[in-house]
Amino acid sequence: MCEANIFFNRGGKEELFMEKVDRIVPGEEDNLFLESIFGERRVVKARIREMELVRHRIVLEEINEETSSKENEIWLELDTDHGHFHEGEEVRLKLFKGYNMRPDKDSDLSNVKAFLLENGERKEIAIIEHHGEMELVLGQEFTGLIPVFVQENNEKELCGKMLVEVGHHHHHEVAPIGLPLEIVPCGFGHARLGESYEIQVLRQGKALGGIEVKATYSGSKNKNYPYKLTTNEEGKASLFLTARGNYLFSVSDDNITSTFTLVKSF
């Protein structure tokens, strides 16, 4: 017989994971596809630590995807689950630092500055603490599609951008706002579940091809970004939207990490 039992080495102890595996296929991103003689199939993110085929035994080691505290990002979310604000309504946004839309509650946001663009002019917005969270309060006078962004310049430069819709039906092309590394939606229609959404990455205003763009969505159970896209020569990449929550796109180049929060229409 040529099948083997698969064990995981966890904290020095071996735990049986799968019995009588006769097929192991390495996949992308450290995945291993396992298939047993009973037809059971599993995909795990692991590396082979030991193979002892005489004893029909293979030991795997999990590849830890836990968030590294150095992989920080900043991003914005709406303080409403309605997808947009109505005219006359107070526009409030939430500011987070963390990774993969998972806020790090101990993070320091004191060096983050927030801005909006109004008629091409950059205006600073105060960041205030509200019920233990950091918020940007834009007020009630805005209407239309407002580009809002946050920046932090420490050892690493962090940027986060969002387009805030106040009122209805603001369909038009969206101009870049001039971040050193920026994710720009290719046309601002209503992003909807079951449709593809295209973004473009710009570095100093120029299309950045061949760069990895990570994407996640609120409420994802994945410890790491579930989607990793690569931009084409025009700096563009598309994602088919399959989750109900809002999405976050993130890109890093040199010492800059920049995010874009995509607010879905529903």
Binding site: E40, R41, R42, V43, V44, H82, H86, H168, H190, R192, L193, G194, S220, K221, N222, K223, P226, F240, T242, A243, R244, S265, F266
Partner: protein, 203 residues
Amino acid sequence: MCRDMPPLEQAIQFHGHICPGILMGVRAAEFALKHLEVDPDIDEQLIAVVETDSCGVDAIQVILGCTFGKGNLIHKDYGKAVYTIGSREKNRAVRIAQKFGATASPNRDRFRELKMKKNLNEEEKAEMEGLLGDIFEQIMSMPFEDLFKWEDVPFDFPARARIYPTIQCEGCGEGVMEPRAKKTEQGMLCPSCQIEFGGVANV
């Protein structure tokens, strides 16, 4: 909501979660509207005969407006993902049947395996979420003819749902639709009281 919600979102909101079944139902319902060149039902212009009681039927109800409450959703318990949609105005009907094995894939097998499992660990929950995303894209992107077969069929349209008077059951005192009540030694009884008194329910 202050915007028209797309049919896919409506179906998912009504059903409560995203699953392959509701997505297949969305594809079938949207096809029926286009094929029959009709709008969603308002008052029994459309009739749906569904041969399953699984997830996809919720999409039929929401997108086509053929609902249990309106009486234009007829369930035949055949255990088949087959939907026959008829339009009174167009006097035509289409039978839409899911192709056997249309969405079969190792991803689908693994998703079903995890779905059947009672207690998923965090890794398995994340894996299931990823698999569902892949299946979602597959179902919504595949050509319709790869998912379903369809044919125009003759359709014997049932009469529109009737509204009957409600009478008071002499057993429990609750209201009951008149044709469901039965005269017994205890008086006019509703089906549950008919059973309570040892009879056979008039249903």
